[in-house]
């Protein structure tokens, strides 16, 4: 990750008070943009990434040389059409793609922050990204959109800045991380911390806890897929062999696939960032922020919502997405909701699922048209 000096960064001078009590200032927020901001500055969409995403939503990620994480959805003529809209995406604070995170150098010690980096929350991430509006001189965004942890940021954004976005699309997310969600994240964290190389978070770049991080990724990857999807893709198929080998090598294709997923992940992700970001997700409880009444989070907002869930997503199931719909309906807010049929599990929002992509596209385009009609 040596090219990180070249990525676009906004240096935020204004002090940001974090939920943990500490204050940070003069910190970098790495971002990327797609499309062009029009003269009226009314076509901006802020896209929030999920746990292991980054600012490179579309096109080729210059660091990994792979397709951006949301290439199916963001791009020219795509659901989030960059010929029409100006898409901004930032790496969350705590991340490892150029934004302020645990792998940054602590000027006091001249070493990486490691676990001396302050614990951050979804609220902190959103508050940091709000500075992008000021930077681009955008009075009001056209939309905030994101899936999974990105969806949580959408909810937090509207709650924090009720009149700063015309529309919002939270996808496959929740207003409150469940015990199961926390349990699965803890599994990943323990796997990293059990790696001898982790050294309480103060590891060297050439001796990082890759094994622990790879296992964390493998476990998490299973939660992003559905049982049916796994069965159909892999079943009990064997990996380049005709029979079982009676050993612990990867006999099955699914084993080999997971090992591969783990091994490529460690090349692009920092283990401490994984700890910090999963922690931020676990701490997310918008309902509790409003004393048990989720509706209160949206009381001051007139943002038009469209909420999307997937049939086979067991990580952030439809029932949890529906709670957000109920909270908005109970205030009589403008909200649409669709549960998309897909057997690709939680990952559906990142994949080529036509009903999903069409839903996003139609909602955005119709809403944009309506906003412009009102102005005339």
């Amino acid at each position: 990750m040596n090219n990180l000096n070249k990525v676009k960064k906004l240096i935020i001078n204004k002090p940001l008070k974090l939920d943990c009590g500490k204050t940070i200032s003069n910190f970098p927020l790495a971002y990327e943009t797609y499309g062009e901001l029009n003269e009226k500055k009314d076509n901006a969409i802020l896209a929030f990434h999920a746990l292991t995403g980054d600012q490179f939503a579309s096109g080729i990620n210059p660091i990994t040389n792979k397709e951006g994480w949301w290439s199916y959805a963001v791009g020219p003529n795509k659901a989030i059409d960059t010929k029409k809209y100006f898409v901004i995406c930032a790496n969350v604070i705590g991340g490892c793609m150029g934004s302020y995170g645990p792998s940054n150098i602590n000027k006091k010690t001249n070493k990486s922050f490691g676990t001396e980096f302050p614990v951050i929350t979804i609220n902190d991430m959103v508050n940091a990204q709000y500075h992008l509006l000021e930077f681009f001189k955008i009075e009001k965004l056209f939309s905030v959109v994101g899936g999974s942890m990105g969806g949580m940021q959408v909810l937090q954004f509207v709650s924090n800045f009720p009149d700063k976005s015309f529309t919002a699309i939270p996808i496959a997310c929740t207003a409150s991380h469940s015990a199961q969600n926390i349990a699965l994240n803890e599994l990943g964290r323990q796997s990293i911390m059990a790696d001898h190389n982790w050294s309480n978070g103060f590891y060297q770049e050439n001796k990082s806890p890759n094994k622990g991080l790879a296992v964390a990724r493998m476990a998490a990857h299973i939660t992003y897929l559905s049982k049916k999807g796994l069965q159909e893709k892999f079943g009990r198929k064997l990996q380049e062999r005709d029979d079982l080998k009676f050993g612990f090598d990867a006999d099955f294709q699914i084993e080999s696939y997971l090992r591969y997923q783990g091994s490529v992940f460690v090349d692009r992700f920092d283990a401490n960032s994984y700890l910090y970001i999963t922690r931020a997700m676990d701490y997310f409880d918008l309902t509790k922020q409003f004393n048990g009444n989720l509706s209160k989070a949206f009381e001051k907002s007139n943002t038009k919502f469209f909420i999307i869930s997937f049939t086979s997503d067991w990580l952030y199931p439809t029932s949890e997405n529906r709670e957000i719909v109920i909270a908005l309906n109970s205030l009589g807010k403008d909200v649409g909701f669709a549960e998309i049929t897909s057997d690709k599990g939680h990952d559906s929002f990142l994949l080529d699922v036509p009903d999903f992509l069409n839903t996003v596209k139609n909602f955005l385009n119709t809403s944009y048209k309506k906003i412009n009609e009102k102005r005339i």
């Binding site: 309906n329 109970s330 205030l331 403008d334 649409g336 909701f337 049929t341 069409n358 119709t366 309506k370």
Partner: protein, 184 residues
Amino acid sequence: MKKEFNIIANLIKENSKVLDVGCGDGELMKYITENITSDIRGLEISKSNVQKCIEKGLTVIEGDAEKDLKQFPLSSFDYVILSQTLQAFLDPENVINELLRVGKKAIVTIPNFGYWKVRIHLLFQGTMPITKNLPNEWYNTPNLHMCTIKDFVNYCNKKNIKINSTNLNYNNLFSQLGIFVIEK
């Protein structure tokens, strides 16, 4: 354009807030959006219909009227529309109560089982009537609670539900459809 849509749309005041319960493929919502008010949304149970509504650029909430109307607050809509689906609910009485709670007024249409062709079909053929509005066989019909216009009027009277019948023709023998504006 179905004639029924025209009649329903004419019952709605301009710029009012409307919920179309069981909005189907969104044809009625589209007509109302283009002609009467854009503050309209639909509740629909079928995924394929939800997609059709989204394609039309309509606001739709995927959900089940029997369970999901309760999330809307009291009198949150000026009109709640229920077009030809009352007979398909497990508990139509509960749905009517919810419509009247959520909407200041409810527009309810029902396929009239008292229509003369229906009566004649049953009288002479001795089989369950099949008509344009009731196209299914007895074994695959979604309609669980068929009623006549007279039944519906009697029901409203019994439950002290006001029927605002202006411009409505609910002749039990000659109407294929009953169209009612009701309020508590």
